[in-house]
């Protein structure tokens, strides 16, 4: 492989790995904010215990998200230095805002949420929970601004610096921030993260019910997560529709690859399940289920509407067609399955029979990775569909790499990252299963001792290993 492909492989690997963790933490932070608000408002113990349990799951996930996130930020400079030079003037402000307004906020208050339960008052703890949620949301917003600008650049001009190198220069900050794809992407991604978090809690609560470990905490957690997962799954379709229309308007080549449309024509069918066209479009979509006139009807609101195909540009500017098509269809397919699951879930909830439908609960457990997978393939659609551009229409991927970094360098880092990330993933699963096995405190358990009253027990070396030593 040449250095460009190695750089791409490393970026694909690190971003796919990284995104799992922010998706889970953004979703969990939303749930924590809701539960903390209930706890603060009603002062009921059940919300306190659920909130503590959620923060434990959050903590294990957050640390992996932070460390894999540092890799992402550094990688712009290490592997994509010409890209960094090109976009620096634009990316600077969103990334600085992300750091100053979001990262420091969430990380600082995560400390309070995780360690400060017994140190701060009820109101401070609640506000800290809200601020963590706000911080995660703002980080998502600012990094999505940067990504959206790469998809639909706006508010800039191209200038040539003293060394004859071209770069984008900021002209209008608000146009750059609110470029055409920012808000659809932000809404769709946020809804996805909430669905990830809700499915996470739903699957875990269902597992407790199946294992006969249900308590007031898991009963409430199951209900809360079903409602949020249902609303979120619905929101995925609304925001997804918004975003797909935006892609059709602003990145029509990506749209054509997503839908597998080779030639510009009218009355285009909507492919539901199909074999994607070959890369050169020698063979078109085939062997599948499609709705005649569906795509035209859906995206043009006119069954005979014109859909621009891949042939609108030279084949050298096409993204990998099969990958874009398949990842998009897999995402939508998973979305449909999840929505059906949630329709049933809400129905059973309404019938007050949710705990009796063990098969549904098993499906809920198995569905924990489904929204994560859907999010991953959704991003694959967005990023693979933008190829061969790194910044749509302005800079090719191959022009963005670091001139000083060799294929050997990237091979070394790639091996190191694969090994390290395998360890991180193992640790994450280990940490999660450990917390899940321990579970939330049940109502029978006495409230935690007031710190300071029994410090001797905590500091005594003779303390039995299982009482507090295992930490959080």
């Amino acid at each position: 492989m040449d250095v460009v492909q190695l750089d791409r492989l490393q970026f694909a690997l690190t971003i796919s790995f990284h995104f799992v963790f922010p998706a889970v933490t953004i979703g969990l932070a939303g749930l924590i904010a809701i539960v903390e608000t209930l706890r603060w408002w009603t002062r009921r113990d059940v919300y306190d215990r659920l909130s503590v349990f959620l923060t434990k799951l959050f903590a294990v996930t957050f640390v992996i998200g932070v460390v894999s996130g540092i890799v992402m930020e550094f990688q712009f400079g290490t592997n994509w230095s010409r890209f960094s030079g090109f976009v620096g003037d634009i990316f600077g402000a969103p990334l600085a805002a992300e750091g100053i307004f979001a990262f420091i906020l969430e990380s600082a208050f995560v400390g309070v949420v995780l360690f400060g339960r017994d140190r701060v008052g009820s109101t401070v703890r609640w506000v800290a929970g809200l601020l963590v949620c706000l911080g995660t949301t703002l980080s998502a917003f600012w990094i999505l601004v940067a990504n959206s600008w790469m998809q639909t650049p706006a508010g800039f001009k191209i200038v040539t610096d003293s060394n004859g190198v071209q770069k984008a220069q900021l002209v209008d900050f608000f146009q750059a921030v609110f470029n055409p794809s920012t808000l659809p992407r932000f809404f769709h991604t946020m809804a996805a993260c909430w669905v990830v978090g809700a499915f996470f809690l739903m699957g875990i609560s269902a597992w407790y019910v199946l294992r006969g470990r249900n308590s007031d905490v898991t009963a409430f957690a199951l209900r809360l997560s079903i409602v949020i997962a249902f609303l979120g799954a619905g929101a995925m379709f609304a925001t997804g529709d918004l975003q797909t229309r935006e892609v059709q308007a602003n990145q029509p080549v990506k749209f054509a690859a997503m839908e597998g449309v080779c030639t510009t024509s009218t009355g285009v069918p909507l492919e539901i399940i199909a074999v994607p066209p070959s890369q050169n479009c020698a063979t078109g979509t085939g062997l599948g289920i499609s709705i005649p006139y569906g795509l035209s009807a859906m995206s043009d609101l006119n069954p005979n509407g014109v859909i621009k195909g891949l042939d609108q540009v030279d084949p050298s500017l096409w993204p990998p067609v099969a990958e874009t098509f398949l990842s998009f269809h897999l995402m939508v397919g998973l979305g449909v399955v999840m929505l059906l699951l949630m329709l049933l879930g809400v129905f059973f909830l309404w019938r007050r029979s949710i705990e009796r439908h063990r098969w549904w609960l098993w499906l809920a457990v198995l569905a924990i990775p489904a929204p994560i997978l859907a999010t991953e393939v959704g991003w694959m659609t967005a990023e693979v569909g933008r190829q061969p551009w790194i910044v749509q229409g302005l800079m090719m991927v191959s022009a963005g790499t670091s001139p000083s970094v060799t294929a050997t360098d990237v091979s070394i880092s790639l091996v190191a990252i694969v090994l390290l990330y395998a360890l991180l993933f193992f640790l994450w699963i280990y940490g999660l299963t450990r917390e899940i096995r321990r579970g939330p405190a049940t109502g029978a358990e006495v409230a935690p001792a007031i710190p300071g009253t029994t410090p001797t027990a905590d500091f005594s070396p003779a303390e039995p290993a299982s009482t507090g030593k295992e930490g959080r």
């Binding site: 600077g92 750091g99 400390g111 401070v124 640790l427 507090g468």
Partner: protein, 337 residues
């Protein structure tokens, strides 16, 4: 003052803030195996930084983001040029972070010791690598006509950069030991006190050593010091180190931490003075990246200045609030590591 110079100072502020904050938890990590002898003590060390290390580390992300924002060419040249060193740094930071998080999850000795080593080695290595990177930038690197540095990892291992690496480790240990003295009690605290004295000695030796080595290996660092005003940084450093010794002598631990932090400020000011107006001096002077040729547009710098002026006071306010909430000796409770 030019906007780009304002941003030179602000990035200096962010990196100095990072060095003060993550400095003490990196230093705590470097000292972990040395000062904490048993499991209870090691847990106290971890919990001394428990609620704050994550927030501290984010200053690095913010500093690097601000560098990307204000001086994209500097970010691009240094991060890609120091490629393998950066990969090593990321590995070290990841290792120490997961070590903190996962050490206390099992009680087996081998599990805990393994993570103790990871925490210690990762922290110490990160502190050294930051110094080595800074040392190379101060010394000046060979920049090719296309703006790239191609010296590889070996090119970074020169005497001056290594001596700055030792100084950086010394400063981290100074911060870490001063922090531990504040947060711990008993035998652990008295070992942290001894480490603190050793750290002052290490910083002094490394500082003098780096300066001596610079006379032959990195003469350009003295270019700016013809101006008496440039001596503010070294003067501050020497003074606060002296006050630090007095504070240690009179057991004023809070002041000792303050003076330790001011040592970081003094050394950061010294490094900044040695650089200005360069951000990355090149061996071929014409290719140096300076505040005049490497900065973002005035529009971008103005927007970011607004962001920083709104954001930083808020950050400083709530960071102080959180440190105040967690002040005092380490207390173990159910939430502890």
């Amino acid at each position: 003052m030019q906007l780009s110079t304002v941003w030179f100072l602000l990035i200096g502020f962010l990196f100095a803030g990072y060095a003060i904050l993550d400095g003490f938890d990196l230093g705590t990590g470097a000292l972990h195996l040395i000062v904490a002898r048993n499991d209870t003590e090691r847990r106290q060390v971890l919990n001394a930084i428990g609620p704050v290390w994550d927030g501290n580390e984010v200053w690095l992300i913010t500093g690097a983001g601000a560098l990307f924002a204000a001086f994209p060419l500097v970010y691009a040249t240094v991060f890609s040029g120091f490629y393998l060193a950066m990969v090593l740094l990321l590995g070290a930071l990841i290792l120490r972070a997961v070590s903190i998080e996962f050490r206390s999850k099992e009680t087996a000795r081998i599990w805990r010791f393994g993570w103790d080593v990871g925490f210690s080695v990762g922290s110490a290595l990160a502190a050294v690598l930051f110094g080595v990177a800074l040392g190379n930038v101060l010394r000046g690197i060979a920049i090719d006509p296309d703006g790239a540095y191609r010296g590889g990892l070996i090119g970074l291992l020169n005497p001056f950069a290594l001596s700055v690496g030792v100084l950086s480790l010394g400063v981290a240990v100074l911060q870490g030991s001063s922090w531990l003295v504040l947060k711990t009690e008993g035998a652990l605290q008295s070992r942290a006190r001894r480490a603190r004295v050793a750290a002052v000695a290490l910083v002094l030796v490394a500082w003098v050593g780096a300066t001596t080595i610079a006379r032959t290996d990195a003469p350009r660092v003295f270019d700016n010091f013809a101006d008496p005003l440039a001596w503010v940084g070294p003067f501050l450093t020497a003074n606060v180190l002296f006050y630090m010794l007095l504070a240690i002598r009179f057991k004023q631990d809070g002041r000792a931490f303050l003076f330790s932090s001011l040592t970081v400020v003094g050394l950061a000011a010294t490094a900044g003075t040695a650089l200005y107006p360069n951000l990355v001096p090149a061996v071929n002077v014409a290719r140096s990246l300076t505040v005049d040729n490497a900065h973002s547009s005035d529009t971008a710098l103005t927007v970011m200045l607004v962001v920083a002026l709104i954001g930083m006071p808020i950050v400083l306010a709530y960071t102080s609030f959180i440190y105040w909430k967690f002040k005092g000796k380490v207390r173990m409770d159910k939430a502890s590591y």
